[in-house]
């Protein structure tokens, strides 16, 4: 456990350092060290150092924080979802949150043409889609988790087709490209204000989900067993599902739709630290943060143009996933 923590902190620190140094404005580790020396000693900064400081604080730091929050948020909510639905193949999108958010964003872009409305609608529609899924599952008396998953599929399909409809209606010169770009996910829109008012709830939810391992383990044994072990099953399960949903909806506000992280990172971390959610959930949060920083570093160094992060998450995640499957092939006999 201690060893895990050290590895995790080292990984995070390393990823942050690398991310700080990568980008179009060039400076190296040496510059960074002399800058921090100058700052600590209270010396007058040179012109170059002022520029570096500006790039670090105004451009790279918000982006790094956003990447970590989104990666950690999606991964930990994916891990929580997998435990709640007793199914390692479930991802945060399973109850329709991402489809709903896409539809909300499409509404915002096509009808309101405003950034704020796009973000607010994405968040609201994401939550509404999950609400619809849960509502559908209550149609069946004493329904099982499977019915909730079915509800999620229905809800996701509904909002998916509504989004397609809006794509069809959108002005192909202006709105459509913006919408398509938004749906691919990007850190380009991250700014300090959004980060400030959205960052805190995200951090709060990440921490909340990370410490649910004890009860998540029990809930992953199924309703009746968990009930007989003394957990108020319905309430607790719904609480965790709602927290995970809210968390993924909030990440959508920051970056748009980012696929795969929520499914693959908990999976990979399960190979590394084992299935015990007390370790797995915090490990997924850390793994997600490091993964997202790494992917963003790749994106920023590949091209000077702003490439959509959502495209690269799967391109980076899949080889990692295949590698972890290969390394653990004995467990899959």
């Amino acid at each position: 456990m201690i060893r895990h923590l050290e590895v995790a902190l080292f990984a995070i620190f390393g990823a942050i350092m690398v991310s700080l140094l990568i980008g179009r404005y060039g400076f190296d580790f040496h510059d960074l060290m002399s800058l921090s020396k100058a700052l600590l000693a209270g010396q007058e900064l040179t012109m170059k150092q002022h520029e570096i400081l500006f790039v670090l604080i105004k451009i790279r730091l918000p982006r790094i924080v956003a990447a970590m929050l989104v990666g950690a948020g999606l991964a930990v909510s994916g891990g929580a979802y997998q435990a709640m639905f007793l199914n390692p193949l479930v991802s945060p999108g399973i109850l329709g949150v991402l489809s709903g958010a896409s539809f909300g964003a499409a509404l915002g872009i096509v009808f309101f043409r405003s950034m704020i409305m796009t973000q607010v609608l994405a968040f609201c529609m994401g939550c509404a889609a999950v609400g619809l899924a849960i509502l559908l599952s209550t149609l069946v008396r004493r329904s099982s988790l499977l019915v909730m998953l079915l509800g999620g599929m229905i809800s996701a399909a509904l909002f998916g087709s509504l989004t397609s409809l809006l794509k069809f209606l959108a002005d192909p010169n202006k709105e459509l490209p913006e919408l398509v770009y938004w749906l691919m996910g990007s850190f380009a829109r991250v700014n300090e204000e959004t980060l400030l008012w959205i960052g805190l709830p995200i951090v709060g939810l990440i921490i909340y989900l990370s410490v649910q391992g004890k009860v998540a383990n029990v809930l992953s044994m199924g309703d009746e067993e968990a009930l007989s072990l003394g957990v108020a099953v319905k309430r607790t399960r719904l609480q965790i599902i709602l927290a995970a949903t809210l968390l993924s909806a909030l990440t959508v506000i920051l970056t748009g739709i980012v696929q795969w992280v929520g499914l693959v990172i908990p999976h990979i971390m399960r190979f590394v630290v084992g299935p015990d959610n007390r370790v797995l959930l915090p490990a997924s949060a850390i793994g997600g943060a490091v993964f997202m920083l790494g992917t963003d570093a790749v994106v920023r160094s590949v091209s000077t143009a702003e490439l959509p992060i959502g495209v690269f998450t799967s391109l980076v995640a899949l080889p990692l996933f295949i590698l972890s499957l290969y390394v653990n092939r004995r467990n899959w006999k």
Binding site: K214, N217, L227, L229, V231, P275
Partner: protein, 263 residues
Amino acid sequence: MIQVSQLSFAYSKKHPVLRNLNFIIEPGEIINILGPNGCGKSTLLRAILGFLPLLPGQVHINGHDVVSLRPQRLARLLSYVPQMHNTPFNYQVLDVVLMGRVFSGPWYKYTREDHDIARDALHRVRLLDLASRPYQHLSGGQRQLVLIARALAQGADYFIMDEPVTGLDYSNQFYLLETIRELSAQGGAQKTGKLIFILTTHHPEHALFLGGRALLIQKGQLLADGPVEAVVTAQGICDLYGIKPQFLDKIINSYGKQYGMAC
């Protein structure tokens, strides 16, 4: 004491599963519940465990109504050893046993005391050596013992087991029954009171092996209730399962008459 009074239950209105059951379970007993498939054995266990939407007043445990009892309190009185279950996550054996302590201590972690209790429970079913092995890599019999250890760690007096020997090989079946008999004689982990096992079985000879009391259930009603030797007789078995005495004779003869039953 578990008091079942006028317990009736139906999943759908037309087909009642349990009809007006009345009985009392006293401390220190082993209760064997026998009956044909679909007679309501499992439903009865689920009713006692508080899984079913019952009317208030039908099942009391130590004077508390199971319907109104919070899960946390109920878990301290009753523990449940399920039949084979299928979680896709391959937890370590010790982590599975620790789940029996989920209601105690702080909500985010297990205390040192919880760990001690879990290890002690594993020790009592002689599986402490396997504490750090993945649960799903164990054999069926060992898994059942791990679930019993988890129930022991829970610290409740009443153990409810749904067909505990299902899927176990011949020797493991009797090893498990022997463990139940031992634990029942030893008493609870923390309390001085004796453990009470309430289990369903399809094997009359297992009931005879365990001893204690037997409830024979047919079509949701109590057919017979009493000491195993008095109830699980050739006549009782023939009545319960609706088989002809000649047929039972044939079965028993093929077993070499070692169960001492003859029509």
